[in-house]
């Protein structure tokens, strides 16, 4: 993964799989870099091939965090395969997806 911070914005690029093994790593990295100045996060899934339940939970936690500070989380470059997961789990009603 790559995290790029620019003032109040942050872009997180996820590569490969987001599963039981890689999700805690992502969560720890985000916790390290996220500070109170960040008001907008873009999660770029361009190079992401798969998200499991564990990965979805990390994303939900991030959504909750941004909502709490009046910020926003946007998930972009969602492949059809991953979009189906968001839709079928009902998370597309909660998250902002492009």
């Amino acid at each position: 993964m790559t995290i790029i911070k620019n003032g109040s914005s942050m872009v997180i690029e996820v590569k490969g799989k987001l599963d039981t093994t890689t999700s805690p790593q992502l969560e720890a990295e985000i916790a390290k870099q996220l500070d109170d100045d960040v008001r907008s996060i873009t999660l770029d899934l361009k190079d992401s091939i798969y998200i499991s339940s564990a990965g979805l939970r990390v994303i939900l936690t991030l959504e909750k965090k941004m909502e709490a500070v009046g910020g926003s989380l946007k998930i972009v470059n969602v492949s059809d395969f991953i979009m189906e997961v968001f839709t079928e789990t009902g998370l597309s009603d909660i998250l902002t997806l492009e």
């Binding site: 599963d19 390290k32 339940s53 564990a54 939970r57 909750k64 009902g90």
Partner: protein, 562 residues
């Protein structure tokens, strides 16, 4: 400076307050029908001038038989219009003179929550029959010193809406706000964990503050799932937790608003001795003695641990804590109807005086055929019907209970199942306990372990079939879902013999099994909480009841396991 009342004095006073529940049981156990009738006639007389009471002729009702003939069995739908008028128009005395202190949001099986009115009288019974009664029973069983300590509660208040000036929230949330927050000095968790900001890792706070306090006597939660969750968290994070306890800090990686962090850190003190003590405990390993090594005075767990939650209790006992368990009785959004009377005993007894109780034999629908206490039989299975101090009359709880015995004339009841929840493809009606028994027998034979499971009554195929979705903990190499399905089908027939001919005659297709991805059940809970559900009342799915649930679980199948 305020005088600090010792814990024992506070807890003893609280235990004394609910003595009336115990004394009512003692007084009426030989003839519960006498008190039961007294309660009914009072409710009917008090409400005779309400719109509902006038419509049904309450003023003419002189005894239980009159009541049964005049009033049909009811469900929430019968009250919806009156509740609506009460909320939207501020009308009162429609169905109850007792008023409404809050509307309980029920968890609902079809995703459509109900607003169940609760009066101050019913709420008072609830408060007395839950936390206070636990203290009284612990004191009675283990002695006065057993309540000379703190309670580690993982219960949390969920978001509260106001409707017509009344709180609208889960029943557990009211308990947390009204009781735990008002007495938070008796609990280990800080207020910031009991009523957490959405961005707060409250699991960390419950664990950290709980571990720091050596003198914990009771572990409490609504459901045992949350206590198991906390221990899992401790197991995976004990080093960080011990470091924080030693230094009097909160690790920067723990998520919470800065304002919460600074307030808590300003109050925390370094506890190096306690931290060292805990490190020794954790380095010695995780087993059923763990909790007593952490908290030597721990007397019991108090949580719903029967039925669908028994698997979670088993995991708790195997890995973390082996102390007596005080199950809760039958507590619903409509009231608290039964209470526990013994540790490690899933049976409970009616909360005599809290409502008017009737028992409808299972399979019976004639509203005049409900039974009194004196007509119950050992082995009899009944639906509980209640008339409450919150304006519910001959209300069908849809909870099936079984009489397992008597204490004098008071029935000892076991909870069978929720009558709305069953798989019924061809009239065979397989309820949740049978599904669980089939699962438990299957895992015992095949040597795998599951966290939880649910069943979809799959009518998308012909013939329709039972489709299981299982989240595993331990899964032997080489075991196939086909093998699990075959074993499960055999055990389903044992659990519900009506299924045998259904399978034989192709009325039910072969059982199918899908293994879910890890953390699916946690994700489901997180999603519901984020959508505004009361966190203390989110129950794991056992029978998939709607399309949204089906789609959720189907998409999260672990396709690497065939």
């Amino acid at each position: 400076m305020a005088v600090k009342i010792p814990l024992l004095d506070s807890n003893s006073k609280i235990a004394d307050e609910c003595e009336f529940i115990v004394s009512d049981f003692e007084r009426y156990k030989s003839n519960p029908d006498s008190k039961n009738t007294e309660v009914l006639l009072k409710i009917v007389d008090d409400n005779k001038d309400t719109e509902y009471g006038r419509k049904l002729g309450f003023s003419d009702i002189k005894d239980v038989d009159d009541y049964r003939k005049s009033v049909s069995l009811t469900a929430f739908d019968d009250y919806v219009e009156m509740v609506y008028r009460e909320i939207e128009n501020g009308e009162n005395n429609l169905y109850s003179v007792y008023g409404v202190c809050q509307y309980n949001r029920s968890s609902g099986t079809m995703g459509n929550p109900k607003k169940i009115p609760m009066s101050a009288i019913t709420m008072d019974y609830f408060l007395n029959a839950s936390g206070k009664l636990t203290l009284a029973l612990v004191r009675s069983r283990f002695g006065e010193q057993a309540i000379n300590g703190k309670i580690l509660s993982v219960a949390e208040a969920s978001p509260v809406k106001m409707i017509n000036g009344k709180m609208y929230c889960g029943l557990s949330t009211h308990f947390v706000i009204k009781w735990i927050l008002e007495h938070h000095e008796l609990y280990t968790s800080p207020v910031e964990a009991i009523r957490p900001h959405p961005d707060t890792n409250s699991r960390y706070l419950h664990a950290r503050y709980g571990l720091a306090e050596k003198n914990v006597v009771i572990l409490y939660s609504t459901f045992s799932t949350y206590i198991l969750d906390m221990f899992h968290y401790i197991e995976h994070n004990w080093e960080m937790l011990c470091n924080d306890i030693e230094m009097g800090t909160i690790d920067p990686s723990v998520r919470m608003p800065d304002s919460v962090r600074s307030k808590l850190e300003s109050e925390l003190k370094p506890m190096p001795e306690r931290a060292d003590e805990l490190r020794s405990v954790f380095r010695a390993g995780f087993d059923s003695t763990l909790a007593k090594r952490i908290w030597p005075n721990l007397a019991c767990i108090n949580a719903i641990s029967t039925g669908a939650f028994s698997a979670y209790l088993q995991q708790l006992r195997e890995r973390y804590v082996d102390v007596p368990v005080l199950m809760t009785g039958l507590t619903a959004s409509e009231g608290v109807f039964t209470i526990p009377y013994e540790f490690d005993n899933p049976l409970s007894v009616p909360t005599i005086g809290s409502a008017f109780f009737e028992f409808l034999p299972l399979g019976e629908d004639d509203p005049t055929k409900t039974l009194n206490f004196g007509q119950l039989k050992v082995g009899g299975e009944y639906e509980l019907i209640v008339t409450t101090f919150s304006g519910l009359y001959r209300y069908r709880t849809r909870d099936a209970l079984k009489v397992e015995g008597f204490i004098d004339g008071m029935p000892k009841l076991s909870y069978l199942y929720r009558m709305d929840l069953c798989v019924n493809l061809n009239g065979e009606k397989t309820y949740e306990p049978a599904l669980r028994k089939a699962m438990d027998d299957t895992v015992a034979e095949l040597g795998f372990r599951y966290l939880d499971f649910c069943v979809y009554p799959n009518t998308d195929v012909t013939p329709s079939c039972y489709s299981f979705f299982i989240e595993k903990i331990r899964y032997p190499k080489g075991l196939t879902t086909k093998e699990i399905a075959v074993c499960l089908q055999k055990n389903l027939i044992i659990a519900n013999p009506l299924l045998e001919c259904k399978f034989e005659h192709d009325l039910c297709g072969p059982v199918t099994v899908n293994i879910l991805q890890d953390e699916t059940y946690l994700l489901y809970r997180d999603k519901l909480i984020l959508q505004g559900g009361p966190s203390a009342q989110v129950k794991p799915v056992k029978i998939i009841m709607n399309e949204a649930q089906l789609r959720f679980f189907k998409i999260l199948i672990d396709n690497s396991i065939q």
